[in-house]
């Protein structure tokens, strides 16, 4: 083995070339459209269609033409309110549920959990029309509640918190009970602080899903005054002449919050999606 070691290493290195070439192509295709989006936000329509790959000087002009016809501030405000409210409520409701199913589990609770998991298979399309009727009857069309309520309790998030509650040592709970701590206090003062990574992961995926949600807000937010950022950019291309520079700027603004969260909390982002199945 030993004498042949040096040549093997060089051939091994050459064998790596296709792998790195493949990764480079994938990375280029992956980042390319995003790079183009960022660059185009600073370019004129002419430059965008001329496929300029260099940053331009038209950023401020694009912003002016964007805000001239579109109420970006209002759409941003509604997007933030909807996404933050959904995230906060979802974290509270699903974490206490996941904790409840695991720590206080009984045959009946396990059965209920099984039924709730079935909801994962219900396509949103099949609930959309009756949900619209429900909120219309309640006079909640165009309201934040109508956007938020259907997104609070999700089987996936309950499962995520149930998994994390499973890893929470039961002896700690027993010890706290002996010390006379109330059940709610055990959850609030012991479970929540130790499960910060789970909360971060859950917050990242919930916020991203809520921020990017399009179909349901489009259905229930009938009045354009209440529209969210994805709705704003979707309506942008309705006209005959499209200002591509302004459009790409609007798309960039819409994507910025989730891109920032992704880069800052990449670990939580990954954990949020895979935490359930690990």
């Amino acid at each position: 083995m030993k004498p042949s070691k040096a040549p093997t290493r060089t051939t091994a290195r050459w064998r790596e070339v296709p792998k790195y070439a493949f990764l480079s192509i994938v990375a280029l295709l992956s980042i390319g459209p995003l790079y183009f989006m960022v660059v185009s936000a600073t370019n004129t329509t002419q430059d965008v269609l001329g496929s300029s790959m260099l940053p331009g000087t038209n950023l401020i002009a694009n912003w002016q033409s964007l805000t001239e016809f579109q109420d970006v501030g209002s759409a941003m405000y509604h997007s933030i309110i909807n996404a933050v409210a959904t995230t906060v409520l979802a974290l509270v409701v699903c974490s206490i549920a996941g904790y409840g199913f695991e720590v206080y589990h009984s045959p009946n609770k396990d059965r209920l959990m099984w039924v709730l998991m079935l909801a994962m298979m219900i396509p949103f399309a099949a609930t959309m029309i009756p949900l619209f009727q429900l909120f219309a009857d309640a006079g909640l069309v165009n309201s934040t509640w109508a956007v938020v309520l259907p997104a609070i309790a999700t089987p996936l998030l309950i499962l995520l918190f149930r998994q994390s509650a499973r890893s929470f040592p039961h002896e700690i709970i027993e010890a706290a009970r002996i010390d006379g701590l109330k059940e709610v206090a055990i959850f609030w003062r012991m479970f929540v602080p130790t499960m910060k990574p789970t909360y971060a992961a859950a917050a990242v995926i919930t916020f991203m899903t809520a921020w990017n949600n399009f179909l349901w807000p489009k259905v229930i937010l009938v009045n354009p005054d209440y529209q969210t950022m994805p709705m704003l950019i979707s309506n942008f291309t309705g006209g005959y002449v499209i200002d591509y520079g302004a459009l790409m700027l609007a798309v960039l603004i819409t994507s910025l919050p989730t891109i920032i969260i992704f880069f800052v909390l990449q670990r939580s982002f990954v954990a949020g999606f895979t935490g359930v199945v690990k």
């Binding site: 994938v26 995003l34 409701v93 099949a126 009756p130 089987p155 921020w211 399009f214 994507s255 992704f262």
Partner: protein, 318 residues
């Protein structure tokens, strides 16, 4: 199977005086604890019941009704909406298109994701953080955003045509979004761009859970990397592969954002998905909730049947 046969736990209905000596609980504290547990999970259960199960049953009822807006009555015959579907050319077109996206895009995406995950999982890989970030980042972009970026770069005078002409692959710009086949191709390319990295995340998680001793054992037995991959790695990843197959199938069958924003369903409805058609029927021009509900039940049934088949196939071969 779907009926929510949730019997209320006896603890919640038992009169208070039965606490002492109740055979169900060892102590009043245990009973109180059980009640606390129910209180913890009731909000989520109630919301899922009201926001998912109730509308699902309501949609079934609705699918047997006809009328304008909220003026709905039982259809005559009762299956009127379902009968109408059989003669609805647009419905059949959207069904075919959606299934076409499914059978082309999902296999390509999952195989690519599997290959990428294996490359990324190699401990000796250089610049691993960069590759990971580059591959994952599309999963952070909203579907509407990337649809509009793709709409822009695949415009007749857009980036893709310019690049292809520059390289010399084509002489004249292709009208990507104006022709059925190319427009469908753009949708599929978009789906691949947005979702491949997302699935890599899952496969990487599965690869990191593989027992390293099984890989060493395979090496000792003289198995090459390809053989090891198919005989040792893949079988251990099967639950995760099944999960990603079900997830991507569900997602593609329900696809709306790309159809609505990237191609607007055109040309001539040939890129339109079922959900997009459902949206048009239910909420555009003359809303028809009854017919919309019937269409939505077709989506529900397809999702359920495909998931059942996939789970059956996934369980086999062990």
């Amino acid at each position: 199977m779907m009926t929510p046969v949730v019997r209320p736990d006896r603890a919640t209905t038992t009169p208070a005086k039965r606490t002492k000596g109740s055979p169900r609980y060892s102590s009043p504290a245990a009973r109180r604890r059980s009640l606390t547990g129910w209180a913890f999970l009731i909000p989520a259960a109630a919301l899922i019941g009201l926001m998912m199960f109730w509308p699902m049953f309501q949609a079934l009822i609705l699918s047997f009704q006809t009328g304008r807006g909220s003026n709905l009555d039982w259809a005559d015959p009762l299956t009127f909406n379902y009968d109408r579907m059989l003669d609805d050319d647009i419905f059949r077109l959207t069904l075919t298109t959606t299934l076409l996206y499914l059978v082309i895009q999902v296999p390509i995406m999952l195989v690519t994701a599997l290959v990428l995950a294996n490359i990324l999982n190699n401990p000796r890989l250089k610049w691993k953080g960069f590759w990971r970030t580059a591959i994952f980042v599309p999963a952070a972009i909203s579907l509407v955003s990337y649809s509009l970026v793709f709409r822009t770069i695949f415009a007749t005078d857009g980036l893709v045509n310019d690049a292809l002409i520059w390289v010399g692959f084509i002489d004249n710009p292709i009208n990507w979004l104006g022709e059925t086949n190319t427009a469908r191709l753009v949708i599929i390319l978009g789906l691949l761009w947005r979702w491949t990295g997302f699935n890599v995340i899952f496969y990487l998680a599965a690869l990191q859970n593989i027992d390293p001793t099984t890989l060493e054992a395979a090496k000792m037995d003289g198995a090459g990397p390809i053989r090891t991959f198919f005989s040792v790695t893949i079988p251990q990843m099967k639950p995760m592969i099944l999960l990603t197959v079900i997830m991507s199938t569900n997602g593609t069958i329900q696809m709306f954002d790309e159809s609505y924003n990237l191609t607007r369903g055109g040309p001539a409805n040939t890129t339109m998905t079922m959900s997009h058609y459902l949206f048009d029927v239910s909420f555009q021009n003359n809303p028809n909730f009854g017919y919309g509900a019937a269409l939505s039940y077709v989506i529900l049934i397809i999702v359920a049947v495909l998931a059942a088949i996939q789970m059956k196939v996934g369980d086999k071969r062990d």
